[in-house]
């Protein structure tokens, strides 16, 4: 049986752009998130700001490309510019900003934007990952 394919450090294209499919944020997403985290929405219909961020990580798995061979999620910064409401449909667009080879893997910095159904950038940030190199 062959191993599922992965996207290794060597496969990451500097300045490469990836757009994901979209997801509509529902009351169910908010209820599950609030039940899990106890980070409740401030008012009916509001979406806690961390939830779209969490959903973009899953959206990254729905692109026609094998998943990135992440060894560790090192850190990130995030800006919430516009509110996200229940019923909004979001997708993410990411771009590889930096790629730095290390002895055991490589550091990849990805810029990510979350865009709603009106084409507005609602959230954006930068993620730093430690990514595995292709086994020799």
């Amino acid at each position: 049986m062959s191993q599922p394919s992965k996207f290794y450090f060597e496969d990451v294209v500097l300045h490469g752009v990836l757009e994901t499919p979209a997801v509509t944020i529902t009351e169910a997403h908010v209820a599950l998130y609030a039940g899990l985290s106890h980070d409740d929405p401030r008012e009916a219909g509001a979406v806690p700001e961390i939830l779209p961020l969490c959903l973009t990580t899953g959206l990254g798995w729905r692109v026609p490309q094998p998943p990135l061979a992440v060894l560790a999620f090192m850190g990130f910064e995030w800006h919430a510019m516009l509110p996200v409401r229940v019923g909004d449909t979001i997708f993410s667009r990411s771009r590889t900003a930096t790629k730095r080879s290390m002895r055991d893997g490589g550091v990849v910095i990805e810029e990510r934007e979350v865009i709603n159904q009106r084409g507005e950038i609602v959230h954006k940030g930068k993620f730093t990952f430690l990514v595995a190199k292709r086994p020799v």
Binding site: L36, H38, G75, A80, G125
Partner: protein, 150 residues
């Protein structure tokens, strides 16, 4: 109910809080994978993870972030938050199934904005496990309402 929330003017620079603890369970990780759609083997494949440097499945970093956000609300009286503006965050170590995490927080900056009715409160946060190891840390910026006429 309004008086129960703390306004920008009530929050003092250097205030510190510590939350209760919460044990992160396998169910938390499974629910988070289902909610987010992040099924990375780090969080979902017990067999592969036995051979990893972690020795077992670990919680999603963003699950830890979400849990600390909930713990923070139990650490102090609610702020009159209008919006979450942004954060800077580092993942320092794994959270494993059965670990009990808590958040220690400190108000590190307060900035007035051009609008007189609100200000930005920056809170430094450290997420600790049961061995007092720092597993996550960072800063969050919150837009908080000012007291009317304040």
């Amino acid at each position: 109910m309004g008086e129960l929330r703390r306004y920008f003017d009530d929050i003092e620079l250097g205030e510190e809080y510590e939350s209760p603890g919460r044990t992160v369970t396998e169910a938390d990780i499974v629910i988070f994978a289902g909610l987010s759609g992040d099924y990375n083997v780090l969080h979902t494949d017990a067999e592969i993870m036995k051979q990893s440097i972690f020795g077992e499945r670990i919680a999603h970093g963003l699950l830890g972030l979400a849990i600390q956000a909930g713990l923070f609300t139990r650490a102090t009286q609610a702020y009159a938050t209008l919006a979450f503006v942004g954060l800077r965050w580092k993942f320092k170590g794994p959270v494993k199934i059965g670990d009990t995490i808590r958040v220690r927080a400190r108000v590190s900056a307060k900035k007035e904005t051009s609008k007189g009715d609100r200000g930005v409160v920056t809170v430094e946060r450290t997420v600790l496990n049961q061995r007092d190891e720092v597993v996550q840390e960072g800063e969050t910026d919150l837009m908080v309402e000012r007291r009317a006429g304040g």
